[in-house]
Symmetry: C2
Subunit: 408 residues, 2 copies
């Protein structure tokens, strides 16, 4: 079950003026749930997006990038249940056909539609089912549909992930609402599987791009479930300019910082939600690596711990088998690593100091930390002033079960 993840309530998700969402059941998934989302962006909306860095990126990623370069997006079309990845030329054509279908029903150009898919890799997209369901999605377009849309983009997610926050900027109330999906094949590199965040603020394109890059770097790009990077990752940030604030032209201005703060918080909350709902997760684990020469080496150590199946199964068992953490730190391939300066903490409990087992560590102290469902592992490298943090979950029977039975 998800770790301390409270499902969003319909009433908590605030509409964003200028953003309408419609959902439909295209029958792509075997379950009888909506699996198609259409997002309509008001004129003058500024849109920024980051995509997977997997070389085998999915067809919709290729098409979305191309369309975004050609014109301002008016629609985002998202389907769950089928990733349209590893589908070759036919898959590219299918992604384009989906955009064309939206364009025809809405009197827009196909280039103004960005396609997104998530689900099973390697099966052709059932384009006819999507075309048939599109009128329903258009019919249901409303600003109140974040709750339904957050559910419709789910695949192996148990809990929907969406959140809203507000901030006062220049005397105007600015609203930000975001949603995300993802619980496996999660080690985003630029963005999580799928995440959509919108605000009614007016923001210049370059500033929006910077806000998205920074926020995703400190959230979606710092989480891992299983180290596998999806072919379909995408994160989209939209600013509709409907709040009538003075346009934000610098990220380091007061208004830029105020808005960025909210976007960063929402990104991190959604990223944490993806980990909390990680496939089979029973623990939420924060790995802080401090005192590094640079953030890269901190991140490298943190990910080595976060990807260790032995650390993750020990976490699942609530077993303070800290030797596995130590072994992971030791194999992280940091040049000129001096063990005698390393300290490791499990929660507040010091387990290694000066490279040696901590004198006053007891198994009982370690067990008290491990019995929690939120655990912090902190490593001090004693090399410099850089820090980084990564979030992950444990590795349980259910992870194997979910992924062994995914297509059956």
């Amino acid at each position: 079950m998800p770790v301390n993840l409270v499902p969003p309530k319909q009433a908590d998700l605030l509409p964003i003026a200028g953003i309408k969402l419609g959902t439909a059941n295209a029958g792509i998934k075997s379950t009888d749930r909506a699996d198609l989302v259409l997002i309509q962006l008001a004129e003058n909306t500024t849109t920024s997006a980051v995509y997977t860095q997997n070389t085998f990126c999915a067809a919709p990623v290729t098409v979305a990038k191309r369309h975004q370069n050609e014109t301002s997006p008016c629609y985002l079309l998202i389907n769950s249940g089928n990733a349209n990845a590893g589908t070759g030329e036919a898959g590219l054509q299918a992604a384009q056909d989906c955009c064309q279908a939206v364009a025809e029903l809405s009197n827009s150009s196909s280039q103004s539609v960005l396609p997104f898919s998530t689900g099973v890799i390697g099966q052709q997209l059932p384009i006819d089912k999507i075309k048939q369901a599109l009128p329903d999605a258009i019919q249901s377009l409303t600003t109140d549909n974040w709750f339904a849309a957050a559910h419709a983009i789910m695949t192996t997610d148990i809990v929907a992930k969406a959140v809203s926050k507000q901030v006062q900027i220049d005397g105007k109330t600015i609203t930000v609402t975001g949603m995300a999906k993802g619980s496996g094949m999660i080690r985003p590199n630029m963005a999580t599987m799928l995440s959509y965040i919108a605000t009614d603020a007016a923001v210049e394109q370059a500033v929006l791009d910077k806000m998205l890059a920074n926020a995703s770097e400190q959230s979606f790009n710092r989480i891992t479930i299983d180290g596998d990077t999806s072919t379909n990752d995408a994160c989209v940030l939209m600013a509709t300019a409907k709040a009538n604030n003075a346009i934000i032209s610098r990220i380091d201005s007061d208004s830029g910082q105020a808005l960025y703060q909210v976007i960063a918080e929402i990104s991190q909350q959604l990223a944490h939600a993806v980990v909390r709902d990680g496939e089979g997760a029973t623990k939420f684990i924060e790995i802080q690596v401090q005192q590094g020469v640079d953030t890269e080496e901190c991140r490298q150590v943190a990910y080595t711990i976060a990807h260790s199946p032995l650390v993750k199964t020990a976490m699942f068992a609530s077993d303070p088998n800290w030797g596995r953490i130590l072994a992971a730190v030791g194999r992280s391939e940091i040049a000129g690593f001096d063990l005698s300066k390393v300290a490791i903490y499990l929660g507040d409990v010091c387990i290694v100091e000066g490279g040696e087992p901590a004198a006053n560590y007891t198994e009982q102290k370690g067990q008290q930390v491990m019995d929690q469902d939120e655990i912090t592992i902190r490593v001090e490298l004693g090399r410099g002033g850089a820090n980084d943090t990564v979030w992950t979950c444990d590795f349980s029977y259910d992870y194997v079960k979910i992924n062994a039975e995914y297509r059956t």
Copy 2:
């Protein structure tokens, strides 16, 4: 259960003149099985060893390296059940005390004893138990004890791993016998957890070193269970010179090649045995990556596939979910990767060609391959003439069970 791994028979393991092995039950492990092995090397035995590259190497590794630099080894002392890793100064002292105890009982120097430990990390070595059991181990020293020793070094291994081969060199019958242990925390980097190979051939030190380096590079350094590199890995190759062959002074001579061939075969057979007995393994998987610019990039792609929990759980489920293989290839971070030249095969079945799903692939063909318990994944990169191969196993419920319950 181990994948097609036939347990060695006592009669199949040939003694090596000049090598005696003794075992004893020191009570380190909770089970009532021998957990201590003493190997006695005849005078003039040449010994070569490679060790873990984990920075947090265990105390016995530090001591064994130091002793090997000081003098020729006369004894190897191996205990299972406790790794003496993460044990600080006390652990180093314990490893030295063990060597000293052997030295006192055998009228040798403590520097001539190499200590090895395998088992739980982070607990102090029960040195008194080992000292008490040492006389039993010495008492039982005999050339016929490879079978008992191969069992005594096991930890989570289900099946003992040992093999003998013979080759005619210069009219003499040369015998090589080797044993290994290991089934988790396996991604050796220089050597598997513990492996001991002995021959009665006469071999110069530099040639023996080269044979061990080459053979371990193509065997123990090409396997992975879970990507975790042990703190205790060691592989020792001993040549007793009792066969009265003309001393082998070049690896590229006829006699050098003949002996190397046997050592390489035994190393690979033992390495494969470690994978076949991998924790929770139900499939033995060979990953061949071909047509790379160099072997490094081939290995990088192969390990990315081999470490993917999603690929490994699909293998466990016998699910031809080849999209996961494709996604792993895509995230292996090879510079200038051209998808349109990539082909991927599952056994003999082409699943991707020219970067596209193979036209004549059917799920039925994929399923036939996946139903086997030995599966070959072959990737052609279309970039050059280099190849490399890595072996791994699948990821099952039992892997989680074994590692969640390891210390309980």
